[in-house]
């Protein structure tokens, strides 16, 4: 990575070290807890699926029962292993029995660890093998697919109906999109369960369900055959069910997940602890599954001013990076988010966008940055929006971004039409091709406006990180450091789902997941 901005490496190192200490502080307590959704994710990983007569997912039924009886702190898997031994049934049958009232969770007899431990480990190993198989499947498909050209073109489908989504996802792929995200229903992140089966009604998007994952994956696999390119599928690993969605995604070969450490706290008012615990477990799954995560710093600039608060994005990226490393994610799996959200009416705004994008590029040289399009300041004038999106694309090719969320000309109006995506892809292809090597040809004036802005952003981010290191991330969130949103430490949804681990808490997955990441690659980095 060329250093075009004249950055001071000591400040970069200082910022990273501060973020590391912030993450360490969080990790001093994160591992003490589990949550209802972590345990449900475990249930899903070992094959429990389906719903009861009332439509409640079986992982919820089972975990709720255990929670009611105060048994969750031991870990679902130890209970399940014991139940399997005592009933001679498999995980799914046991869950069905509990749901049908035929098995009382407290009726499963205690057994010494040696008796059930191998069974539990075996179940986990089997689950891990399934995930590994999907990861290898992806790697193989990618190896035979046409080589990728960066930035990758990322579009969303958001019809609310999974069958319509599938049609549109495939059409977008045929038009040239590399990455398709199925946007979620507005309300899903606050549901403390994952809906079941294919769904055809949703507002602002379609429910993330395992069946829906499968349906779109199938459509995109067809597109992969037809285009010879690998097409990535994305969903949202956020809200009250991050670990479960990570599990589902790992099993259905999703390729990317929106999976931020703080998004749920800030934008969904989910309890801090709950979110920080859940993100860790979900990220371990993503890391193991070879999934690229997308962080959500871009969202800060939709509520806070993008020029004023540009530095908060940088600070947050450092924190997200450190937390991600602790979950076993490689830098190459960290789609750190940033955005082109400065008011287009600002004089020299484009220069400021260039500075911010180039800064992200230089600070996180190995990460496939996720660059978000203008959304907040675009209007119903679809022509202007189309143009501004083009300038966004220009900054991207100029600064070497990798994951390009395409701006939609109707951003201010409705979730994208089929034709909006077509036009967006056409826009990006034109700009990327027509300005392909502009980045190589252009040098920024020493201490000019662009360099000065980048330096300012970095310095302010460093100052913020030092401040957060002092007060802790929780306090920083209470004071509204990010996104201009204040969240109290004990407020927010889902805190009742946080459970202190008992001494004998059993969950073999983290170890399995982190093991792989502990292996080193040629550069001596985790892989």
């Amino acid at each position: 990575m060329e250093n075009k901005l004249n950055l001071d490496q000591a400040i970069i190192d200082g910022a990273r070290a501060a973020a590391s200490r912030i993450a360490d502080a969080l990790h001093s307590w994160i591992s003490l807890y589990t949550t209802t959704t972590i345990e449900r994710a475990v249930a899903r990983l070992v094959g429990i699926d389906g719903v009861d007569a009332a439509g409640v997912p079986l992982p919820n039924v089972l975990v709720d029962r255990l929670h009611e009886k105060g048994l969750l702190g031991h870990g679902l898997l130890s209970w399940l292993a014991r139940a399997m031994i005592s009933t001679g049934q498999g995980p799914q049958e046991i869950a069905e029995a509990v749901a049908g009232g035929k098995l009382d969770v407290s009726a499963v007899p205690a057994l010494p660890e040696e008796k059930w431990r191998d069974l539990g480990d075996g179940l986990a190993a089997e689950a891990a093998a399934k995930i590994t198989a999907r990861r290898l499947e992806r790697e193989q498909m990618m190896a035979t697919a046409a080589p990728e050209r960066k930035p990758l073109l990322y579009v969303i489908v958001a019809t609310g109906n999974i069958y319509e989504d599938a049609v549109q996802a495939k059409a977008a792929a045929l038009q040239g999109a590399d990455i398709i995200a199925v946007i979620r229903h507005t309300g899903q992140s606050l549901l403390d369960y994952v809906p079941y089966g294919p769904t055809t009604e949703g507002y602002g998007g379609t429910y993330a369900t395992q069946e829906n994952f499968r349906i779109v994956r199938r459509a995109l696999d067809e597109a992969i055959k037809e285009t010879g390119r690998y097409i990535r599928l994305v969903n949202y690993c956020s809200g009250l069910c991050m670990p479960e969605i990570a599990a589902m995604g790992a099993l259905e070969r999703l390729d990317m997940m929106l999976n931020d450490a703080m998004y749920g706290i800030l934008f969904r008012d989910i309890n801090m602890r709950r979110t920080l615990i859940d993100q860790h477990f979900s990220r371990m799954i993503n890391a193991f599954a070879g999934i690229i995560i997308n962080t959500g710093e871009d969202n800060y600039l939709t509520t806070a001013d993008a020029y004023e608060k540009g530095y908060t994005v940088i600070a947050s990226q450092f924190i997200n990076e450190q937390l991600a490393l602790r979950s076993g994610l490689r830098e190459e799996q960290m789609g750190l988010g940033h955005a082109f959200e400065i008011n287009p009416a600002m004089e020299d705004g484009l220069l400021m966008e260039i500075a911010q994008a180039q800064l992200c590029r230089e600070l996180f040289p190995r990460s496939p940055l996720k660059y978000m399009p203008p959304t907040k300041h675009v209007t119903g004038d679809i022509f202007s929006t189309y143009l501004i999106n083009g300038m966004f694309n220009l900054v991207s090719i100029l600064t070497g971004q990798e994951i390009q969320l395409l701006g939609m000309l109707t951003e201010a109006i409705h979730t994208p039409f089929l034709s909006d995506r077509y036009l967006a892809i056409k826009n990006a292809r034109y700009v990327f091709n027509n300005a392909r090597h502009l980045g190589e040809e252009i040098i920024f004036k020493e201490q000019g406006r662009i360099q000065a802005r980048a330096v300012e952003l970095l310095n302010r981010a460093y100052a913020l990180l030092k401040e957060i290191e002092k007060i802790g991330l929780e306090e920083a969130l209470e004071r509204g450091f990010f996104a201009d949103i204040k969240r109290s430490r004990d407020g927010g949804k889902g805190k009742e789902g946080v459970v202190l681990k008992e001494k004998d808490y059993y969950n073999p997955f983290p170890e399995i997941f982190l093991q792989r990441s502990a292996a080193k690659d040629d550069d001596g980095r985790a892989c």
Binding site: G160, V167, K170, A171, L174, Q175, H185, T186, G187, L190, Y203, G204, F267, R268, D269, T302, T303, K376, A412, H414, T415, F417, L418, S419, Y422, L423
Partner: protein
């Protein structure tokens, strides 16, 4: 150039040429037949000599069109009557002064973005201290007592809070409009309020990017505010309307 306001037509480059631009997608593969289908669709809208200036293959059996044509329809501009909020707009100071003079009590407002909608920027712009585009929000008005419940608030909870705080006005924001979810949410709120017998105890005001005053009135609200609304617009309406009702 003399425009006949009873017969206003679209204008391209000549009075009454009726020029309009269209774009749409058809679920048929690109080709001469598709182009003709696009032309026929434009004809069905009444366009004269529509020209398909662009046809693009969208893959998967879809094609996209840009069409220009001449629309013979006209609108009687003189007959258009828009229901308008009648109260004039006052400044921050004028509003507070007005409250002290005319209402002689603090104005209580309870605000939220309801349903599953999580877009708080709009309602925050109206209610929060900081305000919008340089105009302070209602929280900053000394004569207002404002409660912002945030987003994804169920209608029932909003009403309960309004009663609890003895609200003079309920402010509700709706941004997501896919499949008209905003209309459903807004209708439900008014129905609930009526069922609880509190509809007339307070003002009901809604806002959002697809809300107009006209639409709000239709939905049974006292006022509606769309894009570009500033806090003092809302404050002015509330206090003037409260004063008007007080006098009755």
């Amino acid at each position: 150039m003399q425009v006949d306001l009873t017969k206003v037509k679209a204008y391209g480059d000549t009075l009454n040429d009726g020029a309009v631009q269209l774009s749409f997608t058809l679920p048929v593969p690109a080709g001469e037949e598709a182009r003709e289908a696009a032309r026929q669709l434009a004809l069905k809208m009444g366009l004269e000599s529509p020209a398909v200036t662009e046809m693009a293959d969208l893959g998967a059996g879809f094609s996209f069109f840009v069409v220009y044509g001449r629309c013979p329809h006209s609108v009687d501009y003189t007959a258009i009557k828009i229901p308008k909020r009648e109260h004039e707009i006052m400044s921050f100071d004028e509003v507070n002064e007005f409250v002290r003079r005319e209402l002689k009590k603090k104005v209580v407002v309870v605000a939220a973005c309801t349903g599953t909608d999580a877009h708080t920027v709009g309602i925050d712009a109206i209610v929060n201290m900081k305000g919008y585009a340089g105009e302070y929000g209602l929280e900053r008005y000394p004569e207002f007592e404002a409660y912002n419940l945030g987003s994804q608030v169920p209608n029932a909870e909003l009403l309960a809070k309004a009663v609890e705080h003895g609200a003079d006005a309920v402010l509700v924001s709706q941004v997501v409009t896919q499949k008209n979810i905003h209309l459903e949410n807004l209708t439900e709120l008014i129905e609930l309020a009526e069922a609880e017998g509190i509809r007339d105890r307070m003002l009901f005001i809604c806002g959002g990017p697809r809300i107009s005053h006209e639409l709000a009135i239709e939905l049974g609200y006292d006022a509606g505010f769309g894009p570009g609304t500033l806090p003092n617009h809302v404050a002015s309406f509330i206090v003037k309307e409260l004063a008007r009702r007080k006098k009755q």
